[in-house]
Symmetry: C2
Subunit: 566 residues, 2 copies
């Protein structure tokens, strides 16, 4: 080892205390320098271009960011300071769509990479490598026109009153000293995500695995292999014809069905398939406590308490609020809420210039009922005290934009036209309605309101939406594009966020998957697995991860999975 | 996350306490089952065969090992029990060449994979992924005809007197219970390797990185990235035009030259290149202590003590004896030695049926001087008290086999014929020599003895040699093939181990390398780097790792290195 290491010492980067004042880009530049400096390298590149898609690679090869000139510094100081917390789905999709030249942007996250979370389960079983589903933040930043500044740290305190945040470094290695620092902001984007919710179930923290971070997935993978290795130690009788019978997967679900966010055709298929695969699905069971070798749970229907032995448990239910978010909620009078609330423009309620998106917050949709008087008044232009169909039609557009539940209500009640709302209880056309009739007509609309699921899809759409708002902040201040304000005058600056559900996948193992597509389409089976492969490959944030993931899949098919416990 | 996890729960393996009695192969079988069960999979395979070398893949696809039948058990109980400690270069090359059908083989190692150590430095800088340079032991075992049994555990006590070892599991996850067990052996192969030697330098253990295991390499990689991230935190002035100038690599060497095991042309080139690259090479400096931010060292020549600040230190000097080996040495009366000694047949001295190879032991070559009397006696067939050239020639062959230093001596003194040894001091032929003359003639031969370096090459050759001995144990007991015994009668069972140096590489960074090839050839530069690539690719233990390593190299060329801290 000694000699080998000496050979390669030129590959170790060595930083002296006084010399740690640089940015972390050189670690990238090496690769591209090789391109230019050495003809042999470029030959090598072409040689492999065929097999690794060198062509697409070039689209990735863009110049790294130089360090700022003093002028640039001055210029940027005039810009509004925008601080982004978190580099998950929400944070990244915001970063990707934001025009960074408009703001002085700082990104703070304990992880210097983005994780493609839908593939985390594949990492636990070695189908895909951890490194294949992560993309360095600095790679993503390099591709943007302007300049971001990234700080690998965790924000542990948001001081909303003084518009500043406190951060702490989270360097894993004890050999790198930790430090704290403060950042001021004009706009703050909170995209820190959620943490696992144990519902205070005893033993969960001590004895369960979670699956939020790459490290979790790697830990699960190692533990599975540990279980196998332990099982193959001497002193255990080996009388079983096959080990397949010895591996047992059990799913415990407190609801009546698994995949309950899916179409029931998919639930049924999944439950049937799992039982064929010998996977026990225990529905309607609430876990009461977890010990090192068993789970105590209560069967809701009978109320009986039973125990299930285990070798390993993965806890994956519910999202909880992070301490930093909880602390902010107490500052701004949301302490009675379960999760941070924003308005329909993703602005945190009771807090100026702070926005929250992704799993850490929820959009608190305004009820029509609360504004019904104001809507009537605004619509009743001639102040006659009654609303004609004509008058109603004038405000309908704004109502539909401002209150999405109205459209959902129309759809669920198969109404072609909004004016159908004004029909009387018997369903006859009416020339006009008074305030009482109007209230009655819209009274059930709010029943259609539902909060958005805590999914990557929602987070990504919110990030893209908010980025567009920030890009057009100035224009929209002069000419607002949102719906009219029923309370007060004028229009809202932006259209509110509207979630567009693009469907969802449910990989079921054994090369089968289920897909729920827009328009109530459902597809199940092997072919769907191929759809799954292609969609997830295309959704990758970079060509690099795309190629790596596809390579991993194909490697798995050719060589099977790798059981090395690293 | 919740739903995603549920989708994939069929991929989590769940073991109940009572059901942990199986072997760990199924984790492999999955992949190949996919092959057979699903037409779509095999299509997929072919689809990617082109890009990932599916053809060679098939050579890897061999049936897993079924569990033993009772008959097989009985049969094996008649076999001698062979226990192998360690799965490094020595252990693996022994396993690969051993015919396991001849013995009841158990392999004990804390790691269930083999690491291609020469590429560890590449892992530290992200040129190659950790997973690409490891091969699961069970994959290697599957390829062998007979059956091995693998135990993921660490041997912490060798009871040589009672021919048994004590082992302890080393499961990383606290969720899997640890246990101890005992194994009995007829033959024991010690290939546990060495541990880092800190020479008791204060602070080294606390503040230095090592580079023996994959985990070390990953830790170094993360720390390097931590250093960069820390350097890019706010509050540090950023006035430097380029960060290249800020990264400093320093090599501290107590000897007068780096790469001192190499041809001096390579030393010179390397030292010149490093100084061009801005790498400080401090030779003739002994490190006295290491603190969290500086190294205290003494310049041997002047005796002055100076301090070098650091952000990260990699300690890579010397090999030390592991506790279990040290403990054995005390049992068998080798406690005064620095490192475990074996004879020329790799059999541990003072200990029956125990063999040691690789970095954990050294071959204690017998001196000619110690046997000179016996040699003379054996050669002097007519007991005349003098040795004729004819008589000498009869034993020369055996001498050359038994004492390799003789051949080296002849070579270094440019003697064509062994009988030249018998010439008188003036260099005249002699008809015969008496014992004194004979002693004189061979007195300097032993000066040519040198101990073997602690390299992968030596370990691998020793493993292969010992495997062949074990495969032919029975034959060679009946008809010994070794040289004649000068003390005692008859012949040695086997020819002693003879190391064949195949040359060595010194990658120098910047796509340059130096190679020292047999026959005193030296090659330096970019072309040598390509030689390095091809040799290291070809030396991989499996097609899987071969493809992964090449893919990593090409990915590095196309996308540069990945700075994600995972």
């Amino acid at each position: 080892m000694m000699s080998i290491l000496k050979f390669r010492c030129s590959e170790f980067i060595y930083l002296t205390q006084s010399e740690k004042k640089m940015r972390g880009f050189s670690i990238f530049s090496k690769g591209s320098r090789l391109f230019n400096d050495y003809p042999s390298s470029s030959k090598f590149l072409v040689l492999f271009a065929v097999s690794t898609g060198g062509m697409v690679a070039f689209s990735e090869q863009q110049p790294g960011i130089g360090t700022k000139t003093i002028e640039a510094e001055k210029l940027e100081n005039k810009k509004k300071r925008l601080v982004i917390l978190g580099t998950g789905w929400a944070g990244i999709s915001f970063m990707k769509d934001l025009d960074p030249s408009l703001y002085d942007v700082k990104v703070v996250s304990p992880r210097n990479y983005f994780t493609f979370t839908p593939l985390l389960p594949s990492v636990t079983c070695g189908t895909v490598e951890a490194r294949s589903i992560v993309e360095p933040i600095r790679n993503i930043m390099r591709k943007s026109t302007g300049e971001f500044e990234f700080c690998e740290a965790e924000c542990f305190k948001i001081d909303a009153a003084n518009k500043k945040i406190l951060c702490r470094t989270t360097f894993e290695s004890s050999l790198v000293p930790q430090r704290e620092f403060m950042l001021e902001y004009d706009y703050l984007i909170i995209a820190v995500g959620a943490q696992v919710n144990t519902f205070n179930t005893p033993g969960v923290v001590e004895h369960c695995h979670f699956l939020k971070e790459v490290e979790d997935a790697q830990k699960i993978r190692r533990t599975v292999i540990d279980c196998f290795e332990q099982a193959s130690l001497p002193g255990l009788t080996k009388l079983y014809p096959s080990i397949q019978d010895l591996v047992k997967v059990t799913v415990i679900q407190s609801g009546d069905h698994i995949l309950n966010t899916f179409d029931e055709r998919i639930c049924d298929f999944a439950e049937k398939k799992f039982s064929r695969d010998g996977i026990d699905v225990l529905t309607g069971c609430r876990v009461m406590s977890v010990s090192d070798d068993s789970i105590i749970m209560k069967v809701k229907s009978t109320g009986e308490v039973c125990s299930v032995p285990h070798g390993m448990v993965v806890w994956s239910t519910g999202v909880g609020t992070r301490p930093v978010t909880r602390d902010l909620m107490e500052q701004i009078g949301q302490s009675n809420r379960r999760i941070l609330a924003t308005n329909e423009w993703l602005r945190v309620k009771g807090c100026n210039d702070v926005f929250a998106l992704g799993d850490c917050a929820t959009v608190d949709q305004r009820k029509v009922v609360d504004d019904i008087g104001a809507i009537f008044e605004a619509a009743d232009t001639d102040k006659s005290g009654t609303l004609t169909v004509k008058e109603f039609q004038d405000v309908v557009e704004d109502i539909l934009v401002r209150y999405p539940q109205v459209e959902l209500y129309l759809k669920s009640h198969h109404m072609q036209d909004v004016t159908d709302l004004l029909k009387d209880p018997e369903g006859n056309e009416r020339e006009e309605v008074d305030i009482e009739g109007f209230k009655l007509a819209l009274s059930h609309v709010d029943s259609q309101m539902k909060s958005l699921p805590a999914t990557a899809q929602v987070a990504a759409q919110q990030g893209a939406y908010l980025a567009k708002c920030f890009n057009r902040m100035r224009d929209c201040t002069e000419s607002p594009e949102g719906p009219r304000r029923f309370k007060g005058s004028g229009r809202h600056q932006f259209r509110p966020f509207r979630y567009k559900h693009l469907g969802q996948f449910a990989p079921l193992g054994g090369e089968q998957a289920a897909a729920e597509l827009p328009g109530d389409w459902v597809s199940i089976g092997h072919s769907t697995q191929w759809l799954w492969y292609s969609v997830y490959a295309s959704k990758q944030v970079s060509w690099r991860t795309r190629l790596l993931v596809v390579a991993d899949w194909s490697r798995r098919f050719v060589f099977g999975r790798d059981s090395s416990r690293i």
